[in-house]
Amino acid sequence: MVKTTDVLYYAVHVGELRNIIQWQTWHQAVHERRPEQEAPSLTICFEFLDKTSRSFSAVIQELHPELLVPITLFYLILRGLDTIEDDMTLSLDEKTPLLREFHKYTEKEGWNYKGSGPKEKDRELLVQFQNVTEEFRKVKPAYREIIKDITLKMGNGMADFCLKAEHDVNAVNTIEDYDLYCHYVAGLVGNGLTRLFVESGLANPILLERPQLQESMGLFLQKTNIIRDIKEDLDDKRRFWPKEIWSKYVDKFEDLGKPDNREAALNCSSEMVLDSLNHADQCLFYLAGLKEQSVFNFAAIPQSMAIATLDLVFRNPKIFEKNIKITKGEACRIMMQSTQNLKLVCEVFREFTRKIHKKNTPRDPNFLKISIACGKIEQFIETIYPSQDPKSIVQEPAAPVDPTSKEAKDKAAAAEAKSDLIYMLIAVFGTLFLISCVMLGIAYAFGARFDVAFSELTKGKLSKPTDAGAAQSIIHKYDHGEL
């Protein structure tokens, strides 16, 4: 469906339209699904994937055949869990056991759940969850164990968080709480996916020894979304921004949305952006461990989108007014750049880091810290793709320079350019001087009184006398002395 506003937007932003057309025309999936060989229940699972996720569906469906089904089901299982956690119509007594036991249901034949609130957008997934469990039981045991383990940990984490939120409106009190919440809903996903990648032999096993990098992959995405969704969360009375941060800028969380507090709210959002930005270099480090192209694309696209989103929300007052997101044209360009190699992904990160840096202002209390965080990302990119090589800086001997060498020629050319410049300047100033002399001469010949003008100027009279009589009297003064 094409909206009129979209047509107008792309009529003006032709470059972005070009990106969309290019992506649609030239992008080739690394691997393609084979729908004709799929069981009916799996086809239903892919339909749900399309319905529940607009951003992940396409990249998941291009995954290596080894991981295509496990990751699709992993996504649907977590989506089911998320739907239960989000559901405000469920009582705590109903919700927490469901969350804690969810990992067991994933393998239970015919299991589904019809108790979700009628407004839950992914309610249907749980109603027909038997398709997921049926397919999940066919998955290789090693993958199944990983997915169940993450589901168990995430379910428990969500249940703990729901309990806490019941007693305290500021369930996310400290930055530590914030990190822990993001760990449950996103950091664990990073861990689970890494284990799946390594188990299938499509990623460097060393990633398993770097839990901090896996964590950052999840946290960078989650924290960026939490900043972007502030308006929606304010409206729904949900609080994910930690009190430790917002209390520095406003007295009450709701005040963030009030137009009178825009400046304070913006500074607060800057600190949130800073917190997220600090994960960026570790995400690039992680991506260096992925070898298989489809896995790389799957992991890299969301990260590139996140840095672009971070730029979009940084010092943008609109986040408190409406839901904003990257335009489709921009998204297509980022996807093209993120589905090739790490170097291009680094370029995307560098580009948006610089854009963030450009908007940074010394009036913001986080100014220097943001500047340093941007510097850290640039320096990290330099460590993986150095732009200078110390070996090329060899000491040249002071021997006479070969006149035919390129350097000598360059030097001669530079010297010539310099003398050209000097002659040009002389010519320009000389001409100006000559013209000035001619003009002054003509004025003198027609009777201009430079002596009068000069001495009146030295008395500080810069404008000409208002009427002719005054001018005459001045002239008289000079011709006849003081009267």
């Binding site: 610089r354 840096h357 450009k358 908007k359 940074n360 202002t361 010394p362 009036r363 100014f367 220097l368 810290k369 500047s371 340093i372 941007c374 510097g375 850290k376 640039e378 320096q379 330099e382 460590t383 150095p386 732009s387 200078q388 110390p390 070996k391 800086i393 060899v394 000491q395 040249e396 002071a398």
Partner: protein, 381 residues
């Protein structure tokens, strides 16, 4: 903040240049709860004295004077941080020639003299030299994430006489490692030092604020730059001395990739940031309220042309150096930052003071000093 490392140092540390900008910070950190005796050798020891340290006046280029102080102090560790102040770029040609000779005399010959006398006296176990990160930079080109693999530059590539003299002296010091019995040597190369007592960086930046130049910016401000807080540089010197003493305690010689003696280490705040961000933070700390929308950006090419014209006009008008020079344009538009992983890994270095805290306390120090003696007003005039 208690300095845990300095208490590891045994008795008798001699800080050469200990009344200078960096030296006095080293002395102050050495005097934090510790068991060592701290002595200072400097050309003049009237300024920046600390109770508890012993002060000796001597010229480092004189063998007799240095030997006599060494004999009195019997130092186990020498930290050599003495160096003449690098002249400003608005000095005349004659001043520049004079300065070049002075740099050679103090930095090269003076350092050689200090090392030789230390080797001869026999009690010195560790010799720490303050080199400069500019030894590997020509003062002109971009230097991006450089580390210790980059070569020390000599003329004609090295265009700055001060930097060249520091590089030559560093090579002399490192060549003396294990040459005189078991005396070990090490060199530290700090980049862009600022802090309390700073004579160059912060005073210049504050002067621009007092003259109302905060609304101008040369270049796009995408050039990362390393600025290093003096306290962190002083701390690195203590770590270097401890590392040399630890090497002494080893029964075997360390492996090449673990070796600290005879090695040079780059030292920064490990927080490179864009050139103008540093200036803006200093100005903001001093009270400036300029926001980015108000700033006029003059791009590098135009800046260079303007500077050329202005330099010519000033030359016609009698040879003074203007406020805007090509060298200043070049400096504020170039990228210059380093990688300090070697110091992190082998010396256990990490900045004790972050950039923000360092800038705030430095600006406060200058404002308090200016309020005390009214220097601020003089600068404005």
């Amino acid at each position: 903040m208690a300095n845990v490392r300095s208490s590891h140092l045994p008795s008798s540390v001699l800080v050469i240049g200990g009344c200078g900008f960096l030296g006095r910070h080293i002395v102050s950190q050495l005097l934090e709860p510790s068991t060592s005796t701290v002595s200072v050798l400097d050309l003049r020891t009237t300024n920046n004295r600390f109770p508890g340290a012993y002060y000796y006046d001597a010229d480092i280029t004189s063998p007799e004077a240095v030997r006599s102080v060494y004999e009195k102090v019997k130092p186990l560790i020498i930290i050599h941080t003495a160096s003449p102040t690098a002249i400003q770029d608005n000095a005349s040609a004659a001043q520049k020639r004079g300065a070049k000779a002075l740099y050679h005399k103090v930095n090269v010959e003076g350092t050689m003299n200090l090392v030789e006398q230390a080797g001869k006296i026999g009690c010195v176990k560790a010799f720490v030299y303050t080199s400069s990160a500019s030894a590997i930079h020509d003062g002109y080109s971009d230097l991006i994430n450089a580390d210790e693999r980059w070569p020390i530059l000599r003329a004609p590539k090295q265009k700055d006489a001060y930097s060249e003299s520091k590089g030559i002296a560093e090579e002399l010091v490192l060549a003396a490692n294990r040459k005189y019995g078991d005396m070990l040597t090490i060199a530290l190369r700090p980049a862009g030092i600022f802090g309390e007592g700073d004579m160059q960086l912060i005073p210049n930046v504050l002067k621009a604020y007092q003259m109302g130049q905060t609304k101008f910016q040369l270049g796009g401000n995408e050039n990362l730059f390393d600025f290093t807080y003096v306290g962190n540089v002083a701390y690195a010197h203590i770590l270097a001395a401890v590392a040399l003493m630890d090497t002494h305690a080893l029964t075997t010689q360390p492996l090449d990739h673990e070796k600290v003696d005879g090695e040079a280490f780059l030292i920064t705040n490990a927080q490179p940031l864009c050139f103008w961000d540093f200036a803006r933070m200093v100005w903001a700390a001093a009270g400036d309220k300029t926001s980015p929308e108000q700033v006029w950006t003059i791009d590098k090419g135009l800046g260079l042309q303007l500077a050329t014209v202005i330099e010519w006009l000033f030359w016609f008008a009698g040879g003074r150096t203007p406020n805007l020079t090509r060298q200043k344009v070049q400096y504020s538009c170039m990228t210059r930052y380093y990688c300090v992983n070697k110091a992190k890994k082998l010396l256990g270095y990490g900045p004790r003071w972050g950039m923000e805290e360092a800038i705030v306390r430095t600006v406060k120090w200058f404002q308090e000093r200016d309020a005390k003696d009214g220097v601020g007003k003089q600068v404005q005039q």
